[in-house]
């Protein structure tokens, strides 16, 4: 085991820095899809880290939930997002924030859901 | 039994007029009440005549504890002539107003004033005296402005201003007196006041408060304005009876006979004498007999003021002076009343009847002047006899000036008679002369007869001296008057020669009624107008300007915009999170410091 320590350290450093780098990339990327993909990879790397930290249960959970299902969620959401931003009518960019728009009649009406 | 009956009369004297005044309110009762109204002073008259000398009625539950009483002859005499004057004026008034609209209204105020006037004579404590005095003062405003002419309204205004000032002064005086003497009973107050610390202030306030009613010089302006414009019966009681309330107030309140107050005595005498002459001088210039009579009242009250001053100077002689003052008041009250009523009668008559009336007017006129064998002679002579009690310097002054005032009065009376002789346009007519004549005639009779019953010393002892002493001033006055008339007649003729027009303006300088009021109002009116404008227009405008400028500044500061900007930048996500981080840091840092 003693001999493995430097190796372990290299692994740890790579994993830790990789996590930070992937996290950074996922958040900084200009392309949302790329972000999500990077985030999923980030999740997988996290699972590795859990395993490295002797937490296999967490690793399993992370792999299944954190990376897998969250990724699915994110991708689905992105797809819906793209649907709507294409389908949505042109938005009046100059429209004042609704919180402070007293005259906006529509905003003051009760919204009773979609039914 | 009789005693009991009489003591029953005591409250009636005050209650009767009051109840009748209130009973005027319902429309249905009015004419009946008006018919009854003149007779209301009868209980008072009865009381004055019949009451035992120690009649007293305590009503501890009324006001602050009220005591009505008829304690001495002074009160009895005041009550007598007051009641008589009110009685006869009332009867006179019924005829005076016959066929006129305002009689009910007139009688309301008439009765209320009467209540006050009679009540204040009977009141033995400060508060109830003040009550009746106030009642009388305010109610008689209704008498003054009864005619609603611009003159009467003006007079009313002046009158009410002075009344209010008087009321306030009087209130202050009474409060001070009560505090100083720990009593509200007049006889105790008088005693206590002699030594009281605040005596001088009280006396000053009393001089003002009662002086306004009594027409003391400087506070007399209302008299020549109000008396002529009031209906004649009202003038009679105003000038004959109510004016004496001021005098009675002095007699009740001032520490007369208790302590020698030389300075105050001098002040009263000076004021009194000045008024005596001033009244005559201004009165002579008047052309309306009622105005003239009002000035005469000022003059006569001046003499009474002087008499009070005499009493203040010589406490020892006060017991002797008091009956004289009372007598003088009685005499003046009756004769002035008769004169005023007479003016009304003359105006209502014409022809021979008018002349007869005019002739009869001589009696009160002469009495006023103090002609021999009249009540005036007795009063004046007896008054003169008291001069000796004054300090020497004053004896000399009074000895010269008092007769001189007699001459002056005679002159004034003469002028009055002359004025009355001349018929005035607009006179005579709608009054029922008969109804007017007999109360007046009764009063004239009273002038002739009544005072003699109350002369303090038996007349036999001094009547001779008095006769001579009183003859010459009247004669002198008469001579002067005749001379003046003759001179005037010549002047008139010469004027006629010159320009063929008669303009009395050139003959006699006329001082407008109210005399010093005219210059006073000249500078007071603009000042008041200015104050009013300031208060009504300028200050509110300034306030508006100030407020609107403040508002403008406020809105110019863009508060709304600023607040909205700050709030929206706080809700800006990055800002909010940076704040969050900072707060967390700060909290941790603060914890570290601890």
């Amino acid at each position: 085991m003693e001999a493995l320590i430097p190796l372990q350290w290299i692994f740890d450093a790579l994993l830790g820095l990789g996590l930070l780098w992937l996290g950074w990339q996922a958040l900084a990327s200009t392309d949302l899809f790329r972000s999500i993909v990077l985030f999923i990879s980030f999740g997988l790397l996290m699972a590795l880290a859990w395993a490295r930290l002797d937490a296999p249960d967490v690793a399993l959970a992370e792999a299944a939930v954190g990376a897998g299902l969250t990724g699915a969620l994110l991708l689905t959401a992105l797809a819906r997002l793209k649907d709507t931003s294409i389908a949505a009518p042109g938005i009046d960019a100059g429209h004042p924030p609704i919180d402070y728009a007293p005259d906006d009649d529509e905003s003051t009406r009760i919204k009773r859901g979609d039914d | 039994m009789k005693e009991a009956l009489i003591s029953l009369i005591l409250p009636l004297t005050v209650l009767c007029p009051l109840v009748l005044a209130v009973a005027m309110a319902p429309n249905a009762a009015r004419s009946t009440v008006a018919r009854l109204a003149p007779w209301v002073p009868l209980p008072a008259l009865l009381l004055a005549v019949l009451a035992p000398s120690n009649l007293s009625l305590s009503l501890p539950w009324l006001l602050l504890g009220t005591r009505l009483a008829l304690v001495n002859d002074t009160a009895r005499l005041f009550l007598l002539f007051t009641a008589l004057l009110w009685l006869l004026s009332g009867i006179y008034a019924r005829a005076y107003f016959s066929g006129q609209q305002g009689i009910h209204r007139f009688f309301v105020y008439f009765l209320l004033s009467m209540t006050g006037n009679i009540g204040l004579i009977l009141a033995q404590d400060l508060t109830s005296f003040y009550l009746f005095f106030t009642l009388m003062s305010f109610a008689s405003y209704g008498l003054v402005v009864h005619e609603r002419s611009s003159l009467s309204l003006h007079a009313g205004r002046i009158y009410i201003i002075l009344v209010v000032i008087g009321e306030v002064a009087l209130f202050s005086a009474l409060v001070l007196a009560t505090t100083a003497t720990k009593s509200t009973e007049f006889h105790l107050v008088r005693q206590g006041l002699a030594q009281a610390e605040s005596r001088d202030l009280i006396m000053l306030l009393a001089l003002i408060g009662f002086g306004i009613k009594a027409g003391v010089l400087g506070l007399h302006m209302w008299l020549p304005l109000a008396h002529p414009v009031a209906p004649t019966p009202a003038s009679a009681v105003l000038s004959g009876a109510m004016i004496k309330a001021g005098l009675l107030g002095w007699l009740q309140l001032l520490p007369l006979g208790e302590v020698m107050l030389l300075q105050w005595g001098e002040a009263y005498i000076t004021l009194g004498l000045a008024a005596a002459f001033y009244g005559v001088l201004v009165g002579l210039t008047q052309r309306d007999p009622k105005t003239l009579l009002a000035y005469s009242s000022i003059s006569q009250m001046g003499i009474l003021t002087m008499a009070v001053g005499l009493g203040l100077m010589s406490p020892a002689a006060y017991p002797v002076i008091l009956p004289v003052i009372t007598l003088y008041a009685l005499h003046h009250g009756l004769s002035k009343g008769a004169l005023f009523l007479g003016v009304g009668v003359i105006r209502a008559c014409s022809g021979a009847k008018r002349r007869r009336v005019w002739l009869a007017m001589w009696l009160p006129a002469l009495a006023l002047a103090g002609a021999p064998l009249t009540s005036g002679m007795a009063a004046k002579f007896l008054l003169k006899a008291q001069i000796g009690n004054a300090p020497d310097t004053w004896v000399l002054v009074l000895q010269t000036l008092l007769p001189a005032s007699g001459v002056a009065t005679a002159l004034l009376v003469g002028r009055c008679l002359i004025l009355l002789h001349q018929p005035r346009t607009g006179d005579s007519g709608n009054h029922s002369a008969r109804g007017l004549v007999w109360p007046w005639a009764l009063l004239v009779t009273a002038v002739a007869v009544l005072p003699w019953w109350f002369v303090p010393e038996t007349p036999e002892r001094w009547i001779h001296a008095a006769f001579t002493a009183s003859l010459w001033p009247v004669l002198l006055g008469a001579v002067l008057a005749i001379a003046a008339v003759g001179w005037r007649a010549r002047l008139v003729r010469s004027r006629e020669r010159v320009d063929g027009q008669l303009s009395t303006r050139y003959l006699m300088p006329q001082i407008p009624p109210g005399d010093i009021l005219v210059p006073m109002s000249r500078w007071m009116t603009p000042a008041l107008t200015h104050v009013c404008r300031l208060a009504e227009e300028r200050l509110p405008t300034r306030r508006e300007v100030l407020l609107s400028s403040l508002k403008k500044t406020w809105s110019n500061m863009h508060w709304q915009g600023l607040l909205a900007t700050i709030e929206s930048s706080l809700s800006h996500w990055p800002t909010a999170l940076v704040i969050l981080v900072l707060l967390g840091l700060l909290a941790a840092a603060l914890a570290i410091i601890a």
Partner: protein, 499 residues
């Protein structure tokens, strides 16, 4: 079982419960509402009468409820509270009758009478309060109950008046609260105690106590309309006449004045306060208010506005009487609490009658009104003369005792204030009276209603007449055993240990 503690509670309930029920009544259930109103008022009166008699015989009616672990709500009937509550009970009955007549057929009556009853409840509470916290409670309740009444008409003017009223009173309430809390931190108790609960307070607290006094007086001065805190009062006259009458004569203004009385006598103790040197400024403040109010009244043409400024002036007599420090002045101040109530309510009810019957609102429209409405104006005249201080109307008694008290306490300057105020009061009331009685009426009135042969409706006419008679009676019969004056003397005896 001792029923005594329940009596004050019943008094409160006698107006509170009808009020709450009335809120829920339909607009058109006139008879039930009227019945409730009158029953409540009569019951209230009877209960107060019972207490009056009891206290006279030496009973003590006291109810306590813990508010905080060491602070209680106390309802207590003592001589002082009875002075005020009797006034409010009597005048409530009168005003209720009047209001029923006044609001006949107008909208929102359930709301009006509900708040009206609440207003009386809080006034009763203010008078029965046995400690400062209870007082504060009802004092604030009063603010809330009167606000809707002032706004009743719902016009823009009324809203502005209501707003102004709120700004002033809420601000005052805040100051009062602060003062009360501060006081409590120093004393640990807020009980009203004859001759003051601060007696024996150490030297080191004097600056703080002065500040507390200033806070409390400022807080109460708003309702008592002390200059410069009076601004709301003239505006509040837009309210319906019965409300104005109640505001000016009984509830709001008096609550402030009554509070000042309580503070000076039963919190600080009048002699202690004098020792602190706080009564003299208070007296000057009151004097300034008296003169200022009269001066402002002088230049008003709106009748109710003039009366409002007159209130500003008159209410400060109470404060003045308190601040003079002395038994006799106390009597004067206390008795004016009642007397001013009788007189001012008369005046306001008469003003209401004029507005309601003839549409007359301004003094310049009042020419000859005396001919058209002699009874109303007779009552008005009585009230006016009372304000001036002319005997035998009650105002005279107050002024008399104030004057005596001032002199007794060696404060002669007060006489000048009284005299000046009387002069000014006369100068704004007498021209009105002159116009009313001696001027010719106009050909037609601004907005006349006819009531057959009578000058106006019975419900409108009787209340002012009754109060006028009370004003007259309180003065004329001042020396009678149960007169306000004698009651005030009882209070003064308690506060000064007089025999």
């Amino acid at each position: 079982m001792n029923l005594d503690p329940w009596v004050p509670i019943l008094v409160i309930a006698s107006s509170l419960l009808p009020g709450l029920i009335i809120f829920s009544l339909a607009e058109n259930s006139v008879r039930l509402r009227t019945g409730l109103n009158l029953t409540g008022a009569l019951l209230n009166l009877v209960l107060v009468g019972w207490m009056l008699w009891g206290v006279y015989l030496g009973h003590r009616y006291e109810a306590r409820l813990a508010l905080l672990p060491d602070l209680e709500l106390v309802l207590l009937a003592d001589t002082l509270s009875l002075l005020f509550i009797t006034l409010s009970a009597v005048l409530w009955l009168v005003t209720t009758v009047y209001a029923i007549g006044y609001l006949k057929g107008s909208p929102h009556r359930s709301r009006f009478f509900g708040f009206f009853s609440l207003c009386v409840t809080s006034t009763a509470g203010v008078s029965l309060a046995g400690n400062l916290i209870t007082f504060l409670l009802f004092y604030e309740l009063l603010t809330l109950a009167t606000y809707p009444l002032i706004m009743h008409h719902g016009t823009e003017v009324a809203r502005r008046a209501g707003r102004s009223y709120l700004v002033y009173t809420i601000f005052g309430g805040a100051l009062l609260l602060l003062g009360t809390v501060w006081l409590y931190t120093l004393t640990g108790t807020l009980e009203f105690t004859p001759r003051g609960l601060l007696n024996g307070m150490g030297e080191e607290h004097r600056p703080a106590l002065r500040a507390i006094f200033a806070l409390l007086i400022a807080g109460l001065g708003v309702k008592a309309a002390l200059v410069p805190l009076h601004g709301w009062l003239p505006q509040a006259m837009v309210a319906p006449a019965p409300v104005s009458a109640l505001l000016h004569a009984v509830a709001v203004v008096k609550a402030g004045a009554f509070g000042i009385v309580r503070i000076v006598y039963e919190v600080f103790g009048v002699e202690f306060a004098a020792g602190l040197g706080v009564t003299a400024p208070l007296a000057w403040l009151a004097a300034t208010t008296i003169i200022y109010g009269s001066l402002r009244a002088l230049f008003q043409d709106d009748l109710k506005r003039m009366l409002a400024f007159s209130t500003v002036s008159q209410v400060s007599y109470i404060t003045l009487g308190v601040a003079i420090v002395g038994p006799v002045a106390t009597i004067g101040g206390m008795v004016h609490l009642v007397h001013q109530g009788f007189m001012k309510i008369t005046l306001f009810l008469c003003a209401g009658n004029l507005a309601e019957t003839l549409g007359v609102h301004k003094i310049s429209e009042m020419n000859g009104v005396g001919r058209r409405m002699p009874w109303t104006m007779a009552a008005f005249t009585v009230g006016a003369f009372g304000m001036i201080g002319a005997p035998p109307v009650a105002g005279f008694i107050s002024k008399w005792y104030l004057g005596l008290g001032a002199l007794e306490a060696g404060q002669g300057w007060v006489i000048f204030v009284l005299a000046g105020s009387s002069l000014l009061t006369a100068s704004y009331f007498l021209p009105v009276l002159h116009a009313v009685w001696f001027r010719e009426p106009p050909v037609c009135w601004p907005k006349e209603h006819h009531f057959g042969l009578r000058e106006t409706a019975w419900a409108l006419l009787l209340p002012p007449l009754a109060t006028a008679v009370m004003a007259l009676g309180a003065g004329l019969l001042a020396a009678m055993p149960f007169s306000p004056l004698n009651w005030a003397k009882l209070i003064a005896a308690r506060e000064f240990y007089l025999p």
